[in-house]
Amino acid sequence: MKRVSLMVMSLIFLAVIHLSVFFAGFFSPYDYAAQDRELPYCPPTSIHWVNKEGRPLWHPFVYRWVERAGGQRYQEDQRTPYSIHALTRGAKYTVGGMVTWDRHLFGVDPPARVFLMGSDGYGRDLFSRLLFGGQISLFAGLVATLFTLTFGVILGILAGFYGGWPDAIIMRCVELFLALPWLYLLLALRGLLPLHTSPAQAFLLFIIVIGLVGWARPARLIRGVVLSAKERKHLLAARSFGASDLYLVRCHILPEIRGLLLTQAALLIPQYVLAEVTLSFLGLGVGEPVPSWGGILATLQQYHVLISKWWMFSPGLILIPVILSYGVLSNSLQENRSQVGRWIE
């Protein structure tokens, strides 16, 4: 029971984070590339309810950050409060590449700025960049997993179902790929491909590279399941009735490997998200100004940012609950596979 509620909790968290990342334009107050050169490395804006005389204003408001004389420190200009409006008009954005809109969930009037998580070196809102960066990092993980598993399923079924020389060749290749250090391979493959690419190309390249590197393990696991499923009585019976290979695979083999696929997906997605973050941290992911979590973390390689701008760690911190939820998910999938199987039915 406890496991199931943990699993539900992590599912809810994952749904929330994926939805908010998908609708990043709506939830973020600014465009990811909008700069405010007056406010580089601005700390998170604090949201007030009570003004400086101690009178509550009954709605949340912020003060404007102004530079203190000398140095990079900021202080709040407490003379005028700027209230936070819901559903304000702001920069245009598109959702899912189709709908264009200009309403944002919240925002403040222009001279003031609301930086929920501070700003980066160009004065860009880190909260907005985090949401838009999640579009790259999280969805790269999802799509790469989909790609890898499709690749793995096709090759695994081919190897397990037909046996013989396809099996031998595929399994040798699996051994070859399993023997390679995957991060080195990822870097090497990325290095042999063109460096300066558009964000969409970089995204696509990442997925292809991950697919090339990662298909081996799922393919081997699936082959094992297919090998045992192939000898089941009902499958032999279906074959003797003259069922075609395609029918057998679709109706008898695929249901057998569904549980395995789910568990593998829950294991692989966080790995690939981390791989994307690592690659863009190393400067091989999508380029500026498009944000990705690794790219934001890469500014921490400068020591002055590392030691004094703690809010720049936020993309790393958001990774922890993501990894945790996927971990809980894969654990509970492994433990009560039969139960989960019943839910799916």
Binding site: I169, R172, L176, A179, P181, L189, P194, V277, I320
Partner: protein, 349 residues
């Protein structure tokens, strides 16, 4: 790629026919020989694959130069001719194989020297770091794992389980950055590089101290990164053994706890631990890439990254091959270790 995998495929039965009788020693020799052949074919496969990739992907080392207005188009093309980059792909691969025969693995355009000496220095630094880290990780995983299994559900066990759960969800990247921030902020540890400037002038004792100060943070991060998995395996294996009738009987005979743990239980629990040890042995050259880049440790990782960013392809290929070779050799060594530690297991041909 296809050629090499086909070769590999056919190498197995051939090896089987020509390699000695099935005596224990003969079996090991056979196994080593087969693994060796596989490693060579693997390296051939990787290099061929990499060359094919380079041949089809646009741009090369001199492309950056072409953007520089001070270097004329002629100079660039002369450079390319000089380094043989205008030749067809198979000829370049053949030349590269010849340079492998000389023990060079090609020529680094960015460093202006053969690849192998470059790689060896960096690999030594990496091994120094990962060796220390693995030693620390295994020492703490073994001692903590044994203690936690003996006093399971005790306070130490709870603390360790909680700590490893936290470490398990902490990405290595974040761990490295946090420790680096701590080290820079407090100034307790040296960061950046492997030695301080003016290292040569120090006395041997001070040299060792300086090296250790630089080594501390990266080694700590690496060992913390691999500790959770090791600890959990050791603990699970020990728990299983400690629950067995033989150990309960030993306890009933009044044998001391220390002796039971380390003379009776640990050797039995060693099987999964040894294969895990083999894995960490195999990954010695490849696990530390990210940590090295974060801590700017002059190992194989930063070299590979620089080479990738400047498209110095022979260094990329060489570094990948070296770490792959290490992985293959490490996993072979792991199997042999397993064979040595447990006489019920025989190496398969």
């Amino acid at each position: 790629m296809i050629i090499s995998s086909a070769l590999w495929l056919y190498s197995l039965p051939i090896c089987e026919t020509y390699l000695g009788p099935r005596t224990p020693v003969g079996q090991i020799m056979r196994y080593v020989a087969i693994r060796f052949g596989q490693a060579i074919l693997l390296l051939l496969g990787i290099s061929f694959f990499a060359f094919a990739f380079v041949a089809v992907s646009p741009g090369d080392f001199f492309q950056e130069m072409r953007l520089n207005p001070q270097i004329s188009q002629n100079t660039v093309s002369r450079f390319r001719t000089q380094y043989g980059m205008d030749q067809p792909f198979l000829i370049r691969y053949g030349r590269w194989l010849k340079s492998v025969g000389h023990g060079d693995l090609g020529y680094s355009l960015a460093y202006g020297s053969p690849v192998v000496p470059l790689l060896l220095v960096r690999a030594r630094n990496t091994l120094f770091l990962t060796g220390t880290a693995m030693f620390l990780a295994w020492l703490s995983a073994l001692s903590l794992g044994v203690c936690c299994a003996e006093w399971s559900e005790g306070w130490l066990d709870r603390v360790c389980l909680l700590a490893t759960s936290i470490l398990l969800v902490f990405p290595e990247l974040l761990l490295g950055l946090c420790f680096l921030a701590l080290a820079v902020r407090t100034g307790w540890f040296r960061t950046g590089g492997m030695v301080s400037p003016g290292f040569e002038d120090l006395s041997p004792w001070n040299q060792a101290k300086d090296l250790a100060a630089h080594l501390f943070v990266p080694a700590l991060v690496l060992s913390l990164g691999s500790l959770p998995v090791l600890f959990r395996h050791v603990r699970t294996a020990m728990l299983e053994v400690l629950d067995s009738p033989s150990i309960r009987a030993a306890r009933g005979h009044g044998i001391s706890r220390h002796r039971i743990l380390f003379r009776h239980a640990l050797p039995v629990a060693l099987n999964p631990i040894v294969s895990l040890f083999g894995l960490s042995l195999a990954s010695l050259l490849s696990i530390s890439l990210l940590t090295e880049v974060i801590m700017s440790w002059p190992g194989l990782g930063p070299l590979l990254l620089e080479a990738v960013l400047s498209r110095d392809v022979y260094v990329v290929i060489g570094a990948t091959m070296l770490s792959a070779l290490f992985l293959v050799m490490g996993s072979a060594a792991a199997d042999l270790l397993l064979y040595a530690s447990d006489s019920r297991i025989h190496p398969e041909g």
